[in-house]
Symmetry: C2
């Protein structure tokens, strides 16, 4: 399998991209990696490692797309960017997947315009896996589609199901509709109409799920429009980091509490492992005709390696073909 990686995306590129790629090569046989980006910088990073030179190709790209740029404009104008070049490799079948830790907006816009949608899918969706109290869960959509129609959410549910079954090996995953009340008649126009559709689909639809219960992780897949999904994702980050910031500064406030903090080190460490997004790789952009994985902007080498791993599982399980078949069978 050939994987294209955007060498310049993310907070610490190309360093962590190269680090993650090298780790992936060691872990997975039959893997070839094409790194796009500033050749000189990438080669400098590569020179730090011992590896089979035939397994990494560097494709020069002089431009870099910044996270602050207008996604669509950036994709259109920066033809020689590391991201656009990597996407074109997928489009032209020179690579089987792309991974980028760069601008989420540009990544989604590029995947959509360059790689293209699967026939029958109206709106591809960004679908990260998140750690919950009792297990992991997936949020579809997390920001690709801020204004949705009920049928979009139905497609999100089906795509999420195929992804969950094949990548995570969980059969017939439970699917909930994010809503501000449990009863069918609760919610806004979108959720009320979506509920009526979802309950007639051949999926394990468990009804509405309130945002309060999302972090429990009892429901495998939660479906919502991208505005709400992004709100969930960012509130999750924001509340956790606020809590830990306050706890940290409180712990440092006296000797007694400092000692308490030391004793609780293993607790905080286990906590961190349990809620470590890095274990889950990146967020799949599902519904496009290629394997497009968005790694977290602040990924380290391990997180980036896991995003590559995710692409390999995606590829081995022929998820795109399966989504395509499922959507066809619905029509």
């Amino acid at each position: 399998m050939k994987v294209a990686v955007d060498g310049m995306g993310g907070d610490n590129s190309p360093r962590i991209v190269v680090e993650g790629s090298i780790q992936a090569l060691k872990e997975f046989e039959d893997l070839q990696i094409i790194i796009t980006g500033k050749q000189e910088e990438i080669n400098k990073e590569l020179s730090k490692y011992e590896y089979d030179k035939s397994k990494i190709i560097v494709v020069d790209a002089t431009e870099v797309i910044d996270t602050n740029e207008h996604p669509v404009m950036a994709i259109r104008r920066k033809k020689d960017s590391s991201l656009v070049k990597a996407l074109n490799l997928v489009k032209n079948n020179e690579a089987d997947a792309i991974i980028s830790a760069g601008s989420t907006g540009a990544f989604m816009a590029g995947s959509l315009f360059i790689v293209g949608r699967i026939n029958g899918i109206d709106r591809p969706a960004l679908a990260p896996i998140m750690p919950g109290k009792n297990g992991k869960f997936m949020v579809v959509d997390c920001g690709a589609n801020v204004d949705c129609k009920p049928n979009n959410l139905v497609q999100f549910a089906h795509m999420g199901k195929i992804y969950f079954e094949n990548v995570l090996g969980i059969n017939n995953p439970s699917i909930g509709l994010v809503n501000i009340g449990e009863e069918e008649e609760k919610g806004n126009e979108l959720t009320k109409a979506t509920y009526k559709l979802l309950k007639n689909e051949s999926i394990n639809f468990i009804g509405n799920i309130e945002p309060r219960d999302v972090p429990l992780g009892n429901t495998d897949i939660v479906v919502c429009d991208g505005f709400v999904g992004n709100t969930i994702l960012k509130m999750y980050e924001g509340v956790s980091s606020s809590i830990f910031d306050v706890l940290k500064s409180e712990i440092m406030s006296s000797t007694r509490t400092k000692i308490g903090g030391l004793l609780l080190k293993p607790v905080f460490k286990r906590f961190k492992t349990k809620f470590d997004y890095k274990e889950y790789g990146g967020a799949a952009f599902i519904g496009v005709k290629g394997i497009c994985i968005k790694a977290h902007g602040s990924s380290d080498g391990k997180a980036f390696k896991n995003a590559i791993k995710q692409a390999i599982i995606f590829y081995d399980n022929k998820i795109i073909e399966k989504i395509s078949d499922e959507i066809e069978s619905l029509q």
Copy 2:
């Protein structure tokens, strides 16, 4: 001032309602309280306290509205419920305010239909004050209006401003629009159109605020539709309680960590105080022609007393008149 309290609303009524009312009577002079609900039960609770009998009146109501009932139906059918009776006291100017810890939906529906909107306000909004890392903040709307138009959000901003200035004494509070990106052009149709309106209003509009930054509490008032606001509120609760549940069970997992937990007791206690919603009373339902305060369903006596205090500040500062004047000046 006369305050009507719904004696049967909330998880522990009428016990905590009576407890909070008695506390309020001790703290505030010139206060009279009318408790609606099952006379016998309420009198039994009252008999536990020593208080000036002339200051509490019990108005019998035989019905109770449950949190699972359809809000509008319940309000229409249960004319003899503690909630409807308390709302009618406000409508008929027999009370200056109402506080209820019961069904949020029924409370909002009842406030809207029985008490009525302020002239010029299209949509009253539920506006709780929440504890943030660096200070408190208000979310308008938190669930009253799940489908909004841009102009509704503009009114939320103005109402929030008046509330914040008068109840919390913070002049010219900062106002942010909840959005999934910082730039003006980000977001869905609603937020893009709302941004254009808000930037031309005579308020301290600081632009978009991402959900990740909401829990910091750096922005005094965050404005959004009720679906998003409710998602924020419930994610806040859900993420915090998930984190503390996991921490708690991890702390109990070994002797070392149990000792650490003991040493950190003051930390967790200060944390709890800092993030204690009970300090902030209830959520005001702003935009109706009466003072309508929704106390948390799981309020204790202190929280209920603080909700009464909030109604007193609301009354003393003539907030309804001020909202009315502000809305008139905008037209």
